[in-house]
Symmetry: C2
Subunit: 703 residues, 2 copies
């Protein structure tokens, strides 16, 4: 049903152009002209009350007047008039409207945009836009836009949040020879968003790679859900890496969560490959739309020149692909297709004499060998070899080897002849580039895709047993107390309800109670003021550590109270927390924010200077599986610390990963309540000895 409604927008059979014009230069004219010129095979109804005919097509005064039902209405009339045609669209069975018209939320008219969507939905109509270029589909010969032509044909599908860029890229598809089946301008995303279109494109037989130009999601979580389920590669360029939300951050974690980091985490979790820039978006689209993923790590590089071979090796290191020498038997066979001074190591250097035969023979053998997972072929133009011939040799080798699950990317460095070879390769389904690092980067995209898919398809974790009810009870009590943050003791209780190990902390309301609790917990203990009005406990003289006996505990109780009163006379003091003094361990920090785009999001980093000086932290959108959590532990720069340095035993990464996963469940379950939180420090002990949350903070959503 959903799918069908979108088909009506993306590949309609009958289209009305509401605002069609007979005046060249007007958008309403361009749209009709584009439909006609690009060979749309369905029915076109120009709608314009003032004319009888546009470009040879009969025009109708209103969509209500057209003789048949209509799939899609392309709307170019002024914003204030758009609402008035929706009911008529409904009567004509319109499945979706393509609202090119601007002047809605992008200029502040949010209400008008909402009314438009409401009215459309009331009529069973989906809305693409407003404020867009339109929709272009090569397979349907449908140019429902004011972009002047359909893109260079291929298997990519581009969804762009920038209309201007879509028009420019449409033209660029021809000069750069990166083929697209569809270009879709998404504009204000009042209704149809990235998730909707991705879901549709996943079922589109003509699309093999979905490319996104993103400025910002409205709902990051629905995007992630759809992206995770998609069976086709998605490659995204996220524009705008400046920090967001930092000003409003109330926690340590909040101040570290930038848009780029959280988007990056979300892409990784949902199997979306990132592009670093506009050309890279095209380059990666080309590879992902034409080649299978690189499933293993055995990449072979075949070259005719040492120079480009070294550059490709550098690029492999840069893009994280480990290069290994091929096994002896592979080397021995490859040695047959090169002169003596060639090299069968990796890169395999066929030397400058290599022409059609050697390239053909060595590539065919390499792809056919079980050790080889993928091949990057490099060619450096020479005066004595013919790039086009070599291109044809490569194609023949790939076809004959018949290993359709092994990707090949190619670089030809040279002039017009090499470019001709590149064009021929691309037209024949082999991604080819002008420089070795580009071919390696494309292969890296195929590898990233395979790896992220593996992680997504790995078995889900067993469900944790948690006590959500207890956690909510604690929060409710704080709310009833008129507070929007929990005390340390309360926060730890919530943590414990989710199975996070915390230091034992009990509230003492008298010195006697403090002594009793300390005895029960066991000396030495730590004592801290508990007051919702005193956030910076140390500054207030409200913390005493290493309290060793009853007498000291009694004195500490009084000193802390005195200090607290001196610090803030009217502070609401709950009492003094008596806390187990945890043995030394590696300090880490966990935390959460409610990201404006993705909702509850986890942070992990090493404590101390790692977080404070190096900002060495990593993010994941909740929930975080234990496998994902393990990846988090590995991707910070300080990761070796957890694996054990300076002869220390490895830290308990398993316990830490479980803690992250439980924590993420907590912030997701309680997302209506928790705004931000920190567990800082968390002490991590040797393997098998677990972790301990020493201090905890939970800030509630303002209600």
């Amino acid at each position: 049903m959903e799918q069908e409604a979108l088909t009506g927008v993306i590949e309609p059979k009958t289209v009305a152009v509401i605002g069609a014009s007979a005046t060249p230069g007007k958008i309403g004219y361009s749209v009709v002209q584009n439909l006609v010129n690009d060979g749309f095979k369905g029915t076109i109804y120009p709608i314009n009350p003032g004319v009888d005919e546009i470009l040879g097509l009969k025009a109708y005064p209103s969509i209500a007047d057209v003789p048949t039902n209509v799939d899609a209405a392309i709307i170019t009339i002024p914003a204030k008039a758009v609402l008035s045609v929706i009911d008529d669209c409904g009567k004509k069975g319109v499945k979706g409207i393509i609202v090119i018209t601007s002047g809605f939320s992008e200029t502040g008219n949010r209400e008008l945009e909402q009314e438009l969507v409401s009215k459309a939905h009331a009529n069973g109509i989906r809305v693409l836009g407003p404020n867009i270029i339109g929709v272009l589909s090569n397979s349907a010969s449908f140019n429902g836009s004011f972009a002047p032509f359909l893109p260079y044909s291929g298997k990519g599908a581009l969804i762009s949040q920038s209309g201007a860029l879509l028009i420019a890229l449409d033209a660029a598809t021809y000069t750069r020879r990166v083929g697209f089946e569809k270009l879709i301008s998404i504009g204000n995303m009042a209704d149809i968003d990235f998730a909707d279109l991705i879901e549709w494109l996943d079922k589109d037989p003509n699309t093999s790679c979905i490319s996104l130009y993103i400025e910002g999601f409205k709902n990051g979580r629905s995007f992630m859900e759809v992206a995770q389920k998609t069976s086709k590669p998605i490659v995204a360029l996220k524009a705008g890496v400046s920090e967001h939300g930092a000003a409003a951050a109330a926690s340590h974690t909040g101040s570290l969560a930038g848009a780029a980091k959280v988007y990056g985490a979300a892409f990784q979790q949902s199997g979306v490959i990132q592009a670093s820039d506009l050309n890279n978006l095209f380059d990666r689209t080309l590879a992902l739309s034409l080649q299978p993923p690189l499933k293993g790590d055995n990449l072979l590089i075949i070259t005719n020149g040492g120079g480009v071979g070294v550059l490709a090796t550098d690029a492999a290191e840069k893009y994280g692909i480990p290069l290994k020498f091929a096994p002896k038997d592979v080397q021995a066979e490859l040695k047959k297709h090169m002169p003596e001074f060639g090299s069968a190591k990796n890169p395999v250097d066929l030397t400058g004499q290599a022409g059609y035969d050697w390239y053909y023979e060595s590539l065919r053998y390499a792809i056919g060998h079980e050790w080889v997972d993928g091949v990057v072929v490099l060619y450096c133009e020479t005066a004595v070899t013919n790039p086009l011939e070599i291109a044809q040799g490569l194609k023949k080798a790939i076809d004959e080897a018949g290993a359709k699950d092994k990707p090949v990317t190619v670089s030809f460095v040279g002039g017009e002849k090499s470019d001709e070879g590149i064009r021929w390769l691309v037209e024949n389904g082999i991604p080819a580039y002008t420089a070795p690092d580009l071919a390696v980067n494309a292969m890296a995209a195929l590898r990233e895709y395979a790896r992220s898919r593996e992680l997504i398809s790995s078995a889900p974790d067993a469900e944790f047993e948690v006590d959500e009810k207890l956690a909510r009870e604690i929060i409710k009590n704080a709310r009833e107390d008129g507070r929007d943050s929990l005390t340390e003791i309360e926060a730890k209780e919530v943590f414990r309800a989710y199975g996070l190990p915390t230091t034992t902390t009990k509230l003492a309301r008298t010195a006697d109670e403090a002594v009793e609790l300390a005895k029960k917990i066991g000396f030495p203990v730590v004592m801290k003021i508990v007051s919702p009005d005193i956030l910076h406990k140390s500054d207030a003289g409200g913390v005493k550590v290493n309290i060793k006996d009853e007498q000291a505990a009694r004195e500490a109780y009084q000193t802390i109270l005195d200090n607290a009163k001196a610090y803030k006379a009217d502070a609401n003091i709950h009492g003094v927390a008596v806390q187990e003094m945890a043995p030394w361990g590696t300090e880490v920090i966990l935390g959460s924010v409610n990201d404006p785009t993705f909702g509850p999001t986890m942070m992990f980093g090493l404590g101390g200077i790692f977080v404070e000086v190096l900002k060495d932290v990593t993010f994941r959108v909740a929930p975080v599986s234990q496998n994902q959590a393990k990846n988090m532990l590995g991707e910070i720069r300080g990761a070796p610390i957890l694996r054990g340095v300076r002869g220390e035993a490895p830290r308990d990464q398993k316990a830490l990963a479980e803690t992250i996963s439980r924590y993420s469940k907590m912030i997701l379950d309680l997302r209506d309540e928790i705004s931000e939180s920190d567990a800082n420090p968390v002490l991590v002990y040797e393997e098998g000895k677990g972790i301990k949350v020493v201090d905890a903070r939970i800030i509630l959503k303002k209600k």
Copy 2:
């Protein structure tokens, strides 16, 4: 004289081709053909004893037979025959030979190559190559190579260590429209090396940017000296970033010094801009060959589309250019050349309606304004504007503004029409690219160039007073002792001779002496075994810290000796070092290696996990000025620690910079003696309170 000899090779008037052939397909034929076809205006003498004429030119049996003197001989005869023609070349006044022939050191024939150079030098002849493609010069219409044509004309000069790549790039200059005045293949660098050619090209009126493809220098230091003095921008692509020398490293520093890091440091110190890959080498060459450096930080971005504007902003952050809003008056003026919904902030968004006029007006005004240091202009192709017209508007604005010291780079995103605009701009001296990040990267190159030149031209430091004689005395004593490493006490004495503050350390040979020394130094003290046979003192139980009184000192002496003997019965024990216990400070590490390419090289990093886990270190080739040393302090990731974190006072960076500079002088002066060294830890105190080297190690060169 030097210059003249090289002119004979690079721009000869008379050329002999020794090994000229009448058989198409042979290199000796290609060279003659290229000279003829590419319009060489000088005299060509084909040398071949077997034929009378080649391509209409009279051939001579030997160079001895030609009627005039000869500037350059291009040699294509087999390697073993090359030596036999050198004397005749000498007689004919040949200034340089271009040895295309391969089969010398690259295939192991080092001796033959050395003989060739010796014989050439004996005849007053310089050698380019062997194992090269040749020399190509557009202004001299000289294609003295077997590359099939002269490059697309321009102001770059490319020196390539890979011949294959040079041929491929020659062709690529046409398709990518990056113009080169010269292409020079440098091959085995038996004689003429990068430094020689850079020196010559610096005086070449037709070259405005020198581009290098480097696999490895023979003598990094002479390259640096020449590069520093060069008045033209140099841009280098260094291929091969894998670690070198690590296996042989005897010190901490040695294990951290990779080729990429040391080359990177050397480039920075000598004002050489790095390229990240092959396309980037072309892109940066284009900008550096056509535009002045970006001297200030006030970069304005002018765009017609929000999308490309955001991408350019992201790129500016990525490449380290801080973007600021223009002053109010600039914004007010720019507002006149855009519709109301445009933006005069930075990026300046003229909107998609912007055509010739708005681009022209806004760019002319921006360049003319004193606040603006440089402009990146972005254009995103639309259906209603003409890229070529806009290109012409930009050119007119630049010409009329007349501010020749302000760089402009341009990006046109689009199809064939945009590419036409790009070509027109490049032909008219304005570097233009296909994506916004490329234009920003090009601007970043112009900024890096300005900054590195500023650092190089800053006033030199005052000379340090040092006692080299004393340092050599200490080393000599150790040598006479049959050692190739210094004890800690000796190493510290060498350090002190170069003015490095070290903890006071004295050698005690008896327990009484130890007590006396400790009293003199002042309790508490540290005591350590001194033995050239015990390198890991702690492992041997040879270190005692925090010794507080005479009794403890006496006991420590005996314990350390006993432990040492138990650890290694036959160890040569000098005694026990009694050492001042330095107060706590921020730990840093200094060190040096003798890099195989660049010689004495300094390392600096923060101690502890920064160096051990994060490898957060930076290098400079000695000598290191105090200004350069200050830059080193700023470029490690842990730099904020030195500036003071967590409310701590800033560390004494001035003293640390001076120490680095003195250290670098030490390893340079004593480069014949010192192989590697470490000062680890060095404690850095608050501003004004100096630093202290706590432990020192010097490893001597094996002799």
